[in-house]
């Protein structure tokens, strides 16, 4: 079982990774921007603390925390965000598609609600091969209105598959509030399919870990899917370009109140004297290395822009005449 230090270390890693990534967005090294996970770290850290390396996760457009918590190398992850050939996905995925199959990470996903069915299919494959692996699908409160996710709850419950659905309810889907977007309660939707569904404080990594561990144990033992709603507050904008759009949808007081309960402080307070500072220093060193590695790494060769398009290596035509004697 993960210790308080482990949980804090993961959260601190996610926090500093994101802060450094935001700097790189502002300096133009990361093109396109990112969806910061700051404020929600306890969820990724808590859930992934209950998982093994060979368990599968699917993530979201706000995926850095999940990928890091599941064990991906932050150095190669940052190289991915900066579009380098040394990145996890060789610079082909970027922030919204970061994936690491060696750690069971089937990828962040740019389509809201898309990962649920993929995770559930992976859970099915695990059962068929006789293993006790489980799969976890992370998604936001906006995703619970996607039909495919609701269809997926049915399949998972019907076939008693070892999948854990983790809804990170940060109260907003971009600018749409939960009150504007979700009829009824989120857990009631899951419960309607006959799976256990509970709500936990997503700022408390221990609480998340314990709830996830129970659900994962049930899944491994053949008890079918579970649903975990984690309440949270997104500290920053939906996306790093939000300020350019000059949209306002959260009152300053609300943001201040949301930020006042920082999950890192909640967990940090549980550490013995001196431990927090030591972990912070350790994480800082990793990120300094990550930034240097990302910036020193080569950009991919444009000639290989469509490498990996097909697993079989099929090559399409480039729009240039192929046949002899023509052009």
């Amino acid at each position: 079982m993960s210790t308080d230090e482990d949980l804090y270390r993961t959260m601190r890693l996610i926090r500093r990774f994101e802060e450094r990534a935001i700097e790189l967005v502002h300096s133009g090294e990361i093109v396109g921007g990112i969806h910061p996970y700051i404020g929600q770290e306890a969820i990724a850290a808590g859930v992934c603390a209950a998982l093994r390396d060979d368990d599968v996760i699917t993530s979201t457009h706000r995926g850095h925390g999940h990928v890091l918590a599941k064990g991906s190398d932050p150095v190669r992850m940052l190289a991915e965000l900066t579009g380098r050939s040394t990145g996890l996905n060789k610079g082909r995925g970027g922030s919204m598609h970061a994936a690491d199959f060696s750690k069971g990470i089937y990828g962040a996903n740019g389509i809201v609600g898309a990962g649920g069915a993929i995770a559930t299919g992976a859970a099915w494959a695990a059962v068929k091969e006789g293993s006790d692996r489980v799969a976890v699908s992370f998604f936001g409160d906006g995703a619970v209105n996607q039909g495919v996710l609701l269809e997926t709850f049915n399949l998972a419950a019907l076939w008693r598959l070892p999948v854990l659905f983790v809804c990170e309810n940060n109260g907003y889907a971009t600018t749409l509030t939960i009150e504007q977007g979700v009829a009824g309660s989120i857990t009631a939707r899951a419960a309607a399919f006959g799976m256990p569904a509970v709500t936990v404080d997503g700022a408390d990594a221990r609480a998340v870990r314990d709830a996830a561990a129970e659900a994962v144990a049930r899944g491994r033992a053949g008890g079918g899917p579970s649903f975990l709603e984690c309440t949270a507050y997104r500290f920053d904008a939906h996306h790093t370009w939000e300020h350019k759009a000059r949209v306002r949808y959260r009152a300053d007081e609300e943001v201040a109140a949301g930020r006042s309960r920082d999950p890192l402080d909640v967990q940090g307070a549980r550490l013995p004297e001196g431990a927090r500072a030591a972990i912070d220093a350790e994480v800082e060193a990793v990120l300094t290395e990550a930034v240097a590695f990302a910036l020193d790494s080569p950009a991919p060769d444009p000639a290989g822009a469509l490498d990996h398009l097909y697993a079989t290596g099929l090559r399409g035509r480039n729009g240039i005449g192929l046949f002899e004697g023509v052009r």
Binding site: R92, A99, F101, N109, A119, G121, A125, H308, Y310, F323
Partner: protein, 324 residues
């Protein structure tokens, strides 16, 4: 030689592949009893863990298959009707197809999406009669449309063994086609290799799916006046451009017959590539459904929208007569 129907060939291909490779499983609606006759007998043989009757949840089970494939299985999905592919375009074009590139080659998604009965099935009207193969070819999903029993067998086998997602359309108009085949010679047919069903010197007719039979009829009918070569691409993506070039560079004349919509259809692409890269003596023609067509119900209307043999015949004659 034995008589083999197209439908039986599909059934046999799936049965053989499931027996050969236990990672192959099949998912779909009402496949346990085999309402489309392709999965008949498989449930009894392999059980419900490999022959999975799904709820009516196309979007979920399509990406479910992606997840299972990422985890090492080789799922085949049977779709009851071709227009269900519109429902799962996100799951195929935007998820399954993009996984390999977006992950830098970490992932492969060997799923086969299979539509036994694509195009018009008399009287099924607007929402059951499309041939959406051009959409998949456009986004680069491997797209297969066999025309004969042996190709149906061989291409289905290849699709299942392929490490990328593949959509296989079995045109409704082909399901009843029968041929004398040497059962022992049945085997995989590679993707991207077309087939010349009939050699000719004057006009190349490219025919897709069930229209291969129509093209052969027309070629026969015109045989005393015009020598028609019938080229069946068999796979629309990847397309056998070299095979087509060999034919067109010989005949210099091209007609495409394709039972899908004209605007941005596969016929348009074939004409464009031929115009850009092959030696055409005269402007090419295509016989297709009209722009943006929706198939009407009444028999007369349905037929008025689908490409007909006499239209093809006229097009071949006109192309043959025309000169620059």
């Amino acid at each position: 030689m034995a008589r083999l129907s197209y439908l039986k060939a599909l059934q046999r291909a799936l049965a053989d592949e499931m027996a050969r490779d236990e990672r192959v499983c099949v998912l779909g609606e009402d496949i346990g009893v085999g309402v489309n006759n392709v999965t008949t007998g498989l449930l009894a043989k392999h059980g419900p863990q490999r022959v999975v009757d799904t709820p009516l949840s196309e979007q979920a089970f399509t990406s479910f298959a992606t997840g299972a494939a990422l985890a090492g299985l080789r799922p085949v999905i049977e779709f009851q009707i071709p227009s269900l592919l519109f429902l799962v375009f996100e799951q195929i074009a935007n998820q399954a197809h993009k996984f390999s590139l977006m992950t830098g080659g970490q992932a492969k998604v060997p799923v086969t999406y299979f539509v036994p009965g694509s195009g018009s099935r008399s009287g099924w009207a607007g929402q059951h009669s499309d041939h959406p193969y051009g959409l998949f070819a456009h986004v680069g999903v491997k797209t297969v449309v066999p025309a004969t029993p042996e190709d149906a067998y061989g291409l289905f086998l290849t699709a299942i063994r392929d490490d990328d997602p593949v959509v296989l359309f079995a045109p409704a108009g082909s399901l009843g086609v029968r041929a004398d085949v040497d059962m022992d010679a049945l085997g995989p047919v590679p993707l991207g290799v077309g087939r010349v069903h009939r050699e000719g010197a004057d006009v190349t007719v490219v025919a897709v799916g069930h229209l291969v039979q129509a093209a052969l009829d027309v070629a026969e009918q015109l045989s005393d006046q015009i020598s028609v070569e019938v080229f069946d691409p068999r796979t629309l993506y990847p397309f056998d451009w070299a095979g087509l070039a060999a034919s067109v560079n010989k005949t210099g004349r091209l007609v495409v017959v394709d039972d899908s919509n004209r605007m941005c259809g596969i016929g348009a692409e074939i004409l464009a590539v031929a115009a850009e890269e092959m030696r055409l003596a005269v402007p090419p023609r295509r016989v297709t459904r009209p722009d943006g067509a929706v198939l009407p119900f009444a028999r007369e209307l349905d037929l008025a929208v689908q490409p007909q043999r006499d239209q093809l015949l006229t097009a071949v004659q006109e192309v043959y007569k025309s000169s620059r």
